[in-house]
């Protein structure tokens, strides 16, 4: 009978990560503030732990020291033997996995909110790793309703090749919070405020869930990752065109066949060629030039979550 809710144990341990990228400042300053004064993030019956994941990168106000921390939580790196020349972030990933994981075990934290900023005009985006995680989809449904009429896009990064091993993936319910546009190394009050509201509603959801509220089945519209698009390059690998003014700042807006995507330095337009309408995101993200990513194509999909209810009520 599909109308019966899925019973789930109450949530006991939540972490809020800031500084996974040391120059994405909203999360850094929110976590540091909450470490001094955590009243705002406390909910009864719940441990909420704010934590700076990459302190050396935070100190230097740089994305990372040796390698991107948000890409090294895969089994190989987590199991790697520690040697003298191991990258700082791999060593750090193992420490974090020890405290908040181990990944894929029953001891892992229930939820990790991982706070990020982007130079792209993505607004307050929630990132979902698993399309069958009923609890997280229900949380996102709750947050979207709480923020309405303000938009809160949900980005699903589940994909055989494109999914990446994030810091938050060690938790049972990983939640990515990506707020932009904000330059690296800059702290904007409006962006911080948006991130703060998302966390508040996320924690409220957990609290309400723990008290025994039944959340009926729900459906949300999400954007599912399809493909990364690189910048046009010459034979030396140098970028020869930039994001077209018509695409700049248009994250989550429909992109149709024949519409402009790049502008060469000589002023020529390069158009999108594709069979279907896509919804670009991470348009002109500073950190992705080195990852060869001008924007990411997504498609709109409806995701349904089963009803859920806490089992201790």
């Amino acid at each position: 009978n599909c109308s019966l809710p899925v019973f789930k144990a109450p949530v006991r341990r939540v972490a809020i990560f800031g500084g996974t990228h040391g120059n994405e400042l909203s999360g850094v300053f929110l976590v540091k503030h909450w470490q001094e004064n955590g009243d705002e993030i406390q909910r009864t019956g719940l441990e909420v732990r704010p934590f700076i994941t990459n302190p050396r990168a935070v100190k230097k106000c740089t994305r990372y020291i040796d390698c991107d921390l948000n890409r090294v939580f895969d089994p190989d790196n987590l199991g790697r033997q520690i040697t003298e020349d191991i990258p700082y972030e791999v060593r750090r990933a193992q420490e974090i996995n020890h405290v908040f994981g181990p990944k894929n075990s029953n001891d892992a934290y229930d939820i990790i909110f991982d706070l990020h900023n982007t130079t792209s005009n993505m607004g307050g985006t929630l990132i979902l790793e698993n399309s069958r995680n009923n609890f997280t989809i229900q949380m996102f449904h709750y947050i979207k309703n709480a923020l309405a009429p303000e938009c809160c896009p949900v980005f699903l990064i589940e994909h055989p090749n494109l999914k990446y091993a994030t810091t938050r993936s060690i938790a049972k319910h990983p939640v990515g919070v990506e707020v932009g546009p904000q330059p690296q190394g800059v702290l904007r009050a409006d962006i911080l405020d948006k991130m703060r509201k998302i966390i508040k509603h996320g924690l409220d959801f957990v609290h309400i869930f723990n008290k025994g509220t039944e959340f009926p089945p729900c459906t949300i519209e999400i954007y599912k990752i399809m493909e990364k698009v690189d910048y046009p390059r010459n034979k030396n690998g140098e970028i020869t065109a930039v994001i077209h003014p018509s695409l700049q700042d248009q994250d989550w807006q429909p992109l149709n066949n024949g519409e402009p995507i790049f502008l060469t330095i000589d002023g020529e337009t390069i158009n999108y060629e594709g069979d279907c309408t896509v919804y670009p995101t991470f348009v002109n993200e500073a950190a992705y030039y080195e990852k060869k990513q001008a924007f990411v194509k997504t498609v709109k999909v409806k995701l349904t979550a089963k009803g859920i209810r806490s089992s201790l009520s």
Partner: protein
């Protein structure tokens, strides 16, 4: 009316992109002009594009050892070579050799310096002082002919202070400061604006060289008077952010008791000065390390005498 001032025609002009290695509009433009210099050429003078800080550009950072754009002082330019000098000190001496020496008759006639800022400064023109006649006329010409957006004029030199910027190596200079743009990002709109502004400025030089008489005029400009720092905790970390109401309000009046900061607990900090000032560089990423929140400026109207070539 006083007769026009007469200055020598310009024969050697330089355009520098990438003085800061993460300010991308100028870097892309300079690389484009190095590949294809035709766009820069006019009849009566030579234009030389160059990349200011190659190592910083390669690493996509502002600087490697120290800020190149603060290194063109006598102290650094005339210091003896040493073993472990910062990269930018060695570089500054080389640039001074090629485009200077600063203060000498051999120096280039004019240097443009291309910058971006994370602040909402639009298409800002930076000159050292209102006494620099040719750059002030150039700004006026740009304001008259580039009408897509206002071009506020920012005078950066404090009284008694030595000039320190890369374009102070040349006999005269102008910096373009376009924003907001994140570091390491190229926005097509700003790139195009910067290209068009340089084209306009080069048109001015051509007209000047050909003998055009530029009459006296009055111009509004913002002159720096000081800086406002972030409030900080005892450990040196900033304890408040630029207030929502001040964010993006570069070149707009800030009155006594207007809010300027908000703490993470939600308290407001108000401006305690006695007079209206005009902030710029509000929330510039590169100034966090100096803990500087914005530059304070006064708005003036200056009378600039007429100009023509000798």
């Amino acid at each position: 009316m006083a007769a026009s001032c007469r200055l020598k025609p310009l024969s050697r002009v330089a355009v520098c992109g990438g003085t800061h290695g993460n300010e991308m509009s100028g870097i892309y433009l300079a690389k484009h002009w190095l590949r294809d210099p035709m766009e820069l050429q006019r009849g009566s003078f030579a234009v030389k594009p160059f990349l200011g800080n190659p190592r910083a550009i390669e690493k996509r950072v502002r600087y490697v050892g120290q800020d190149l754009n603060r290194t063109f002082t006598t102290e650094f330019l005339s210091s003896a070579e040493a073993e472990d000098e910062p990269y930018e000190v060695v570089l500054a001496r080389e640039i001074n050799q090629t485009y200077g020496p600063k203060g000498s008759a051999q120096a280039f006639d004019f240097m443009f310096d291309l910058h971006n800022t994370t602040a909402s400064m639009g298409t800002c023109l930076i000159v050292d002082s209102e006494e620099s006649l040719l750059p002030m006329h150039m700004c006026h010409y740009i304001q008259m002919h580039y009408t897509r957006s206002p071009c506020p004029v920012y005078l950066y030199k404090l009284p008694g202070e030595e000039t320190y910027s890369i374009n102070s190596v040349a006999k005269a200079g102008l910096a373009l400061e376009l924003g907001p743009q994140p570091q390491q990002v190229v926005r097509a709109d700003l790139f195009t604006q910067m290209k068009d502004l340089i084209a306009c400025a080069l048109d001015f030089i051509e007209l000047f060289n050909k003998g055009t008489v530029f009459p006296a005029f009055e111009i509004e400009a913002y002159k720096i008077t000081g800086r406002m720092d972030y409030p900080c905790y005892p450990d040196g970390e900033i304890s408040a952010m630029v207030h929502l109401k001040l964010q993006d309000k570069d070149f707009l009046p800030l009155n006594p008791r207007d809010p300027i900061f908000q703490t993470f607990s939600g308290e407001e900090i108000l401006y305690e000065g006695n007079t209206t000032i005009y902030p710029a560089f509000i929330n510039e990423a590169a100034y966090y390390e100096k803990k500087m929140a914005f530059a304070k400026m006064e708005k003036h109207t200056f009378s600039i005498p007429g100009l023509q070539r000798e």
